[in-house]
Amino acid sequence: MSARPLAVSLLAVALAFAVSALLIAVAGKNPLVAYGALLQGSLGSWDRIAVALNKATPYLLTGVGVALCFRARVINIGGEGQIALGGLAAAWMAMRFPQAPAVVLPALALGAGALAGALWAGLAAVIRLRRGVHEVLVTLLLNFVGVLIVSEALQGSLGEAGAGFPQSPLLARAAWLPHLIPKTDLHVGIVLAAVTVVVAHFLLWRTPFGFRIRVLGASAPAAAYAGISPPRTFLSVMLLAGGLAGVAGAVEVLGVHYRLIEGFATGFGFNAVGIALLAALNPIAVLPAGLFFGFLETGALAMQRAVGVPSPLVAVIQGLTMVFVLSAMGLTARRRRV
């Protein structure tokens, strides 16, 4: 890849921060002080860094899947539903086999999460391939259904009686993801995510499957002409992305909350899309992009506490970054979509 996408992404982030600085100034605060607090709140101590890395973990896993999908021009925006069902399956597995040994149970639960996410994405792919409904609409609609399935489960068999909030009971300790650094919240998920990103990079650029993804993204007729089955590649990349999103949901449940909570994945799927775009659909670049989003969100609350600049500013920065990157991609890619 040339240096151009990197320049575009950096420029988009810089522009988003500049516009947001204006907003902060309009609100009567000093933008530099606010951004200083944002930095302090995300990188200021090992504890903050641990929180930010945990925050980034599901974004990395889901974002890399979205990047692979978009590469193949499969516009999968169903991350939210896939994450939700991945978390549900992981919680179910952990509650079903609480006696399993401490090494086996998280692995089982992560596997269940991957399977559930992949199945949900696979359902979207099948509807797309069999009935010709655009995958954006299918994945978008299935997001709502997936999130509601979690709510339904929490109201029923998985819910904690008398909790006052739709959540499952605390999972057995054996199911929790081990911590990476003692005395911090940092769990092993970030290692899993980083390895996934590197593997995805090699998958895309060094394997026949990656080649099929890239050819399909360049031109579906060319792919068919070259003997690559567009539907099969479509289904594979969706299953892969869904599985990764499912793992993201499982990691969130097993590593952060230790239980299934209603709405635990709210906004994750759309953030993953933003991260994939910011990474110019390049898996290895998902690492800095995902970490950026994680640190940004972690610093936001600290910024609000320290200088009174409201934390939703972060969503403004994220939204603006997406619009700028998309505009730049549209300009440079001419007739291409995403």
Binding site: L23, V26, A27, I75, I77, I127, R130, R131, G132, V133, V136, L137, V138, L140, L141, L142, F144, V145, L148, I149, S151, E152, Q155, G156, G267, F270, N271, V273, G274, L277, Q304, G308, V309, P310, S311, P312, L313, V314, A315, V316, I317, Q318, G319, L320, M322, V323, L326, S327, A328, M329, G330, L331, R334, R335, R337, V338
Partner: protein, 309 residues
Amino acid sequence: MTDAFVEFLAATVRIASPLLFAALGGILSERAGVFAVGLEGMMLAGAFAGVVATYGTGMVLAGLLASIAGGMMVAAVVAVATTRFRADQMVTGLAVNVLALGLTSFLLRGFGARGEAPTIRVTTLPSLPVPWLADLPLVGPVLFRQPALTYLAVALTVIVFVFLVRTRPGLTLRAVGENPTAVFAVGGNPARVRVIAVVAAGALAGLAGAVLSLQQVGTFTDGMTHGRGYLALAAIIVGRWMPGGALVGCLVFGAADALQLRVQAIHLPVSSYVIQMLPYIVSLAVLAGLGRTARMPAAIGAPFVRERR
């Protein structure tokens, strides 16, 4: 007819009206060839601007105009990004939804001390019974004792239909959604038509937000549209990109929502969550049923690029 049933039908109409505004706007946008994924953000901006302006000026009319302007501002971002910069329409829609959610929540806290969200209360729009008609049995309480914006939504359904199907600009708009190159060939300006259509969609979606904040709740809370913009998108699909069809879709979804709120009271054997899934599953079923024969606007999603010679 029991009172509960009449109240259920009235609630259906009430819940359907914000969806209808947004769906009508979405039809204008999508018929011109631009996916209306950004409806959610436009609604949210409209809901916010309406409450702030009504609170600030004490005039509902100012609030409604601000709602329209708020929706149009978000729509303008979509319009410029998708036409001038040829950004992907659907993902741009998602992006402005994130942006609008962040911006409204940020600005709301801008009005509070030390970054906390204040509660801004305004009086909700009263219901306006239509003389004589309101006293009819059943249809009276269901249709003719509604607040002003609900009547406006129904009127706009007819207006948008007539505009699309019976007027010259409406024909041009649809032509841009089917074959922008042909419109360009006969001297039209597809990019401009799309910008106007998207901004008009923003105005209607802004009004949809006003229904929520000014007519139903009387305040603004973070993300108060709760996915209704996406639901409107689904209603457009169910209604096959026609105003009348979208009206039916909105009423069906409104009924599902009204039912969901009453599940416990009427001892239904299903949970409210299952009923909440219905609109999305119905939309998927309709889409899958339409399948490859779906009469989606042919050029939807494709940026218009002038041929260079």
